[in-house]
Amino acid sequence: MQETKKLNSLPWEQPQRFQYLRYAEKSADSIKGKTCIFTDDGMQEFDANKLQLGDPGKPNAFGSKIAVTYDGKALKLLSPAMFSKWGVSTFKNAKGSNSTLDLDFGTGLNLPQNRDFFNVCRAIDVALFELARKERRRLFPALNTDHTPDSDFWKFFKGITRIRDGKTPDPKFGLKITEDSAFFAEKVSKKRKFNPDDLFI
């Protein structure tokens, strides 16, 4: 008898999806030290020229959406082990609830893989900013962009990384939790001395 397909299963009820993350981590191991991103074809060296911004969607009361793609595909980032002080935060509003996960850029930034990851995110921010700046008329019709200097334009642009005081990175690597987000727990032996590198396989 054929097993009935389970509809609306929870993320942790889909073990096959876990392999995707494992594959990403193994793939990442081979290109440490380079500015790379994760694609469906494995890890690739980051090329700013492959970033693309779509046309602004139909605006609503709050603004409009612009699709971000890399070489015509989704742009994915694999983080090293990063610390989260507060874990998953959920905010309720009239339409429902939004959940976010903020990982800390600052903690562990002395580790090479964390520093590399911050630099990857920074490179993406700079490339996207340059792209948006060049096409400001198309992308930012609501802003008086002709009279907005680049230095101010940057203030309007909230990317992945932010620098505070010109020195320290804003620790927030903010991620939205969606219905498809999957979490996997790992137990760490209490007798073993913990090393964040253990999480970056």
């Binding site: 995707y20 612009i66 874990g87 979490f183």
Partner: protein, 65 residues
């Protein structure tokens, strides 16, 4: 299974809470543009997490960009 052995991955029975280490696979989804500026959105695809060890001490570091 002894405590020294590497523990296998287990699927999360519940949402992780605070003070946790994560390895995250995130997707850059969109640039949200309004009259106040633009915000880049990232969606979490998968995350592996581990609880914070007792011997962990945060080390303040400077940005190197």
């Amino acid at each position: 299974m002894s405590d020294e052995e590497e523990m296998p991955m287990v699927l999360a029975p519940e949402f992780p809470t605070k003070d946790t280490w994560y390895v995250a696979l995130a997707e850059v989804t969109q640039l949200w543009v309004s009259k106040d500026g633009a915000i880049l959105s990232l969606a979490l695809e998968q995350a592996r997490f581990s609880s914070r060890p007792e011997n962990y001490v945060p080390v303040p570091v400077k940005a190197r960009v």
